[in-house]
Subunit: 283 residues, 2 copies
């Protein structure tokens, strides 16, 4: 199954049968003091460079999250979307829980962006799905509802079905919904990752849709998070996740390595190409 996305000049397909999609996560002020300061100061050059560097390092899409307490998110989102879409030609991933910010971003974004995200709460379904339909774009559907992130696999499967069923009522085609089964930290539940891996397999088998995942929450609260994130990325891709929101600077090579090991990179071309581009950037 393919989800068609478009940036300013580039068309990109998230593809259940293709190599894994990397959504660059770095334009997000949570835990990034330099970006937070840049957004507050209106220093857009920093944001622009973050977008350009991520794409140069292998990001297929660029996520944009500008939620900063005290700033007008719809206005800021519109500005940053314009700046990023002029800086890079790949599709954008519009990341906000604020409906007005989503609306402003969808208006400003070129092509066919990806909304991050709708979830299975009524308030979210009723607000976000009409935007997806009207704007003719795609959306990430999180398997979360009024009760929070389900700990079990069955509820995630049910919520994925609910989101897909609601989307179909709006005549949004299944391929325009990418399901994200979410992962909790293994530090609080040592079966959390295993359950998410199980959910990925089951949702993929049941609905055939693309599966997205944020690949760093899993290691929260533990030492050497990078090693955990690397292993989890490999496990998630093998289970059927074909789209990852992550740090391209630190994890693109692991993603390419995993695709190669799963037989999805003829002549190691993408792996070696990424390695060489990193080398030339470092030198």
């Amino acid at each position: 199954m393919q989800t068609k996305l478009e940036g300013r000049t580039k068309t990109y397909f998230v593809d259940t049968e293709g190599p894994t999609t990397l959504i660059g996560e770095k334009i997000n002020p949570t835990g990034n003091k330099r970006l937070l300061a840049a957004l507050k100061a209106g220093d857009h050059e920093f944001v622009r460079a973050l977008a350009v560097d991520q794409v140069a390092t292998g990001a297929d899409l660029v996520d944009i999250n500008v939620g900063v307490p005290g700033l007008n998110e719809p206005e800021l989102m519109e500005n940053i979307v314009k700046i990023v879409s002029e800086a890079v030609d790949v599709p954008l991933c519009i990341d906000s829980p604020n409906f007005e910010a989503l609306k402003a971003a969808l208006f400003a974004a070129p092509g066919r962006p990806l909304i991050n995200s709708v979830n299975a709460e009524e308030a979210s379904l009723e607000r976000v799905l009409p935007m997806v339909k009207d704007r003719d774009c795609a959306v990430i559907g999180l398997t979360i509802d009024e009760k929070g992130i389900p700990k079990d696999v069955d509820t995630r499967l049910r919520l994925a079905g609910k989101i897909l069923e609601r989307a179909s009522r709006y005549n949004i085609p299944t391929e325009d919904v990418i399901i994200d089964p979410l992962v909790l930290a293994v530090s609080t539940d040592h079966e959390a990752a295993a359950k998410t891996l199980d959910a990925i397999q089951q949702i993929r088998a049941e609905f055939g849709v693309s599966i997205n995942l944020g690949a760093s929450n899993v290691s929260f609260g533990l030492p050497d998070r990078h090693t955990l994130n690397q292993s989890f990325m490999a496990l998630a891709i093998a289970a059927g996740a074909n789209c990852l929101i992550t740090d391209p600077f630190r994890l693109c090579l692991t993603m390419r390595a995993t695709d190669l090991l799963l037989g999805r990179d003829a002549f190691s071309g993408r792996y070696i190409g990424h390695y060489r581009s990193m080398q030339s950037r470092d030198s």
Copy 2:
């Protein structure tokens, strides 16, 4: 299924349901000039330290390979086995294609060692399996025969069956044979790793035995081999490999991370324990 092994004082079980077993691979002169020189010079302190450090870093077993052109392998093997078995209390993995060296090692080793390896060639089956029976120990069975390492999955499955069937004729119980489906370099065949992962799953499903793998051949000929080895380790464990011959210094944390992410490490105890022990060694 459990394979009982014994060192000088320690009993250890390779367990299909347990955490992954790490066989420390560092006592092997191939590509290790310092060890090669130490073996030639009869500097056994270097070998002893390699054994002790590997066990301190998380190796559950210590592999001993002393094949050095020009040296008397049976005599050297006997000496090194004695030295290592006095230095560490874990079981030994006796690694040689030389039948006389295996015989000498089995005579010198305490407890219940693991032979690395028998394969599906007649000459190997006829020589090694009687030793396994007579010595009452365990053995790694490589799915390779006179024609070399099979590229396909079916032949590996057939050779695993052949080794297990032959073992049973010698009244060697199934649990004393650990199957190694081998992995070829992805640089020469980009589907090589995927086939091995498939073979792991199928051999495990068909025979229920423990699966061993060397986790570094896969990356031969490619840059940043460590990243590839890390990803492959995660994929192999998820596919059903429960025993890995590898470098504990570089890959034990990835192994513990993967076990944790697969729900096999309650309260992250083994992962955190390993991290802390590395920290205290570094400081």
